[in-house]
Amino acid sequence: MSKTVSINVEHITRVEGHGNIVVRVRDDKLETCHFEVVEAPRFFEAMLKGRSWYEAAIITSRICGICSIGHQMTSLKATETALKIPVSEQTVLFRKLLVDGSILSSHLLHVLFLAAPDVLGVPSAFALMDSNPHAVELALKTKRLANDLCDAVGGRMIHPITCVPGGFTDLPTPEVLRDLKTRYEKEMLPMLFEVADILESVAENFPDFTRETEFISLGDASEYPFYDGRIASTDGETYPVDEYLSVTNETIVDHSTAKHTHNKRASYMVGALARLNNNFDKLTDTAKQVAARFGLAAVNHNPFMNNVAQLVECVHCAQTVIGRIDDLLQRGIEPEKPPREWKGKPGRGVGSTEVPRGILFHDYTYDATGRIVKANCVIPTNQNFANVDLDMQAFVPEMLQRGMDDNAMQFNLEMLVRAYDPCISCSVHMVKVD
C-alpha cells in the first residue's frame, strides 16, 4: 500500500528562534521536505553601516543572546584586524577563558534543557523536575558555574560589558580566578561526569542515522580551536579565514529568511561534531575517554551525535579553564588600557571564531574615520540549514521504510533539528513535515 504523509510543525519548540518543519509524502514519493526559517529578518549587516569601531561589538553581540560572547569575540577580531589594533597575550588568554565559559554555558543549556527531554521522554526541562530532579539540579548547577565564569571575565554572560577593541575595561582579581578554578576542579568536572552517566544510560535513544557529508570548522591550530585557526574541512583542505567567501557561498532560498551555504558538496555541517571531526586529536585525554563511551570518534557522520560532541567539548573546556587560570595566575594579572581613540588607516578585516554552534565570520570594511562602510556576517546556523534539509530528505524515506507512523517521524525530525542546536535569531531560519 502506498503511503501518504503530511507533517507540519509550526514554530518548533525548544530551539532558539522561529522555524517550521514541512514534510509531504504522497504515494510513497517525497514531494516536500525542508526546514523553513520564519524568524523576522534582523538586518544586522545594514545596522552596522556608519557605526564606529567601538560600537561594532556592542551591536553584533545583540544578534543573539546565546551566542553574544562569540559574536563579540569575532567582531573584535575583525575590527582589530581591519584597523591594526594590537592585542596582548593576556587579552587573548582572558578571551579564550571567556570563550570556554560561553561554550560550556550554551552547550549545557542545549544538551540538558533543550535536547535531553527528548531522550529522557519528557516534553520539557520543567517536566524533568518531577521525573528526574537530579538531572535538573545538575543542569542548573553546571550552568551556574559556566555563567559565573562569564560574569567574572566579561562582566556579564549575556552581552558582555568588558570586552572592547584592544583589551578589557575590567578584569577579575586573582582571588576570583582561584575560587573559580577550585569550583571547576571540585564541582564542574565531577558533575559533567554525572551528566555523561545520565546520557550514556539513554544513549540508545539517539536515533541511528548517518549520511556522509562535509564537516567545516576552524582547525590546523596548536590547540582545540575555538578562538584561532584556519578553516578546515574533513574533505582534507584548509583555507585562510579571509578566504571564507569561497567556502561559504551564501545563497538566498525562498523557504527561509536565513541564507543557505555550500562548499564543494551540496551542503556541509558546522558545530561541535564538525570541530570534533576535524580536531579530535587536540581534545584532552579525559574528553576523548568520554567520547569513547558513546563510540564517538572522528569522522562521525551521525548528526544526532552532535549532542554527545557538545558534552565532550564541555569536559574539554572545563579542563582548559583550569589550565588557563593556572597560566594567568602564574603570569600575574596586569590592568589593561584598551585604546579610547583610534587614528589610523582605513581597511578591511575578517574575524573568525568557533561559537557553540560552529564557525562564525564577521567581515568589516572601515573608512578613514573608523566607521564601517561594509559589513558581512556568516552565521553557523545558516551554514547548517542546507545540511539539515538534506538530512531530512534522506531520513524520511529511511523512517518510512522502517514503518514509522507520522507521530514517530515528526518526533524524530524535531529531534534532528534540535540536534543541530539551531540558533534562528542568529541566522534569521527551521522544519516542516507536511
Binding site: 545594514a46 551591536i59 543573539c64 543549556l109 562582566g155 556579564r156 575590567d170
Partner: protein
C-alpha cells in the same frame, strides 16, 4: 489557604532571546520563583502550550505584519501584559533602523529577493497594544527582574525609576567616566541596572532608554568636549533610543 500560582506565558518577537535566557539563567532564584508562578507557555524552553494565563511577558520588537497579529492575540488572552527587555519596551537595538529607508536595508541584505520578506518599521509593543508594565534593559539586570517579580507577586504593578544611571553610579562610588573624557550616556539613561557598565569601566550606551525630560542639548555639548563628531553623537543616541527620539522630534 493555599496561594494560587500565577499563570505566566513568555512570548518572543524580533530580538535575540537573551532576555528569556537571562531568566533561564537565574539558576539560583529559579526554583524559588517557580514556587509562586506556573509557566504555561514558553516556546524556547518547553513543548507544552496554554493560552489560559494571568500575565504575559513579551520579548522582542514588532517588525512584521505577523508580529502585529500575534501581539493582538496575546493581548486579548492576557489580563496583564509586561514587556521584558529593551526591544519590546523601547524598540531596542532594532530601532537603529529608524530613520533609514526600509527598502534600502532589505535590498542590502536580501538583494533582489527582498520582497520575500515583508517588514514594518521597528515598533515597541506599546505602539500596537496597551502595556501594563515594563522591565527595561539589554539585557535586563537579574536584580531588577527579581525586584520586579517580588513587587508583582505582592500584587503591585512595579514602576521603573525615572532618574538616571548617573545617580546609581555615584552611589556605587565610581569615578565619573564623562569627567575623564569618556562619552558615557549614564546622565540621560533610565536607572535600574545599578550602573552595570560604568562600574566595569565601560561607558553606558543607553540600553535602558532615555529618562523623561533628558537634557540632550547639554549631553551633546559634553560629548563634543569628548571629541565626538555630530554624526558619532547621533549614532550614540540612536543605538537604543531611535524610537524615543523619533517621538521627541
Amino acid at each position: 489557604m493555599t496561594a494560587k500560582k500565577v499563570r505566566v506565558g513568555f512570548f518572543d518577537f524580533t530580538g535575540c532571546e537573551g532576555c528569556q535566557l537571562a531568566k533561564v539563567s537565574m539558576e539560583n532564584e529559579l526554583p524559588q520563583i517557580l514556587e509562586h508562578i506556573e509557566i504555561v507557555n514558553f516556546r524556547e524552553a518547553m513543548s507544552e502550550k496554554s493560552w489560559d494565563m494571568d500575565v504575559a511577558f513579551i520579548e522582542g520588537s514588532i517588525t512584521t505584519p505577523a508580529c502585529v497579529e500575534r501581539i493582538n492575540r496575546i493581548r486579548q488572552a492576557a489580563p496583564i501584559l509586561v514587556t521584558l527587555g529593551a526591544c519590546s519596551t523601547i524598540g531596542g537595538i532594532n530601532a537603529i533602523r529608524v530613520g533609514r529607508d526600509l527598502d534600502e536595508i532589505r535590498q542590502e541584505v536580501y538583494g533582489d529577493k527582498r520582497y520575500l520578506f515583508p517588514s514594518l518599521p521597528v515598533m515597541p509593543v506599546s505602539a500596537v497594544v496597551k502595556v501594563d508594565a515594563s522591565i527595561y534593559g539589554c539585557p535586563p539586570n537579574p536584580k531588577d527582574v527579581a525586584r520586579f517579580l517580588t513587587q508583582f507577586l505582592a500584587g503591585k504593578i512595579p514602576q521603573a525609576p525615572k532618574y538616571p544611571v548617573c545617580i546609581e553610579c555615584k552611589l556605587q562610588g565610581n569615578a565619573c567616566l564623562l569627567v575623564q573624557g569618556i562619552p558615557c550616556m549614564g546622565v540621560v539613561t533610565r536607572a535600574g541596572c545599578g550602573a552595570w557598565c560604568p562600574s566595569k569601566g565601560q561607558f553606558c550606551y543607553g540600553c535602558r532608554g532615555l529618562i523623561p525630560d533628558a537634557n540632550l542639548d547639554a549631553l551633546r555639548i559634553s560629548f563634543e568636549e569628548c571629541g565626538l563628531s555630530q554624526q558619532e553623537i547621533d549614532n550614540k543616541l540612536h543605538l537604543f533610543s531611535g524610537r524615543e527620539l523619533e517621538k521627541l522630534s
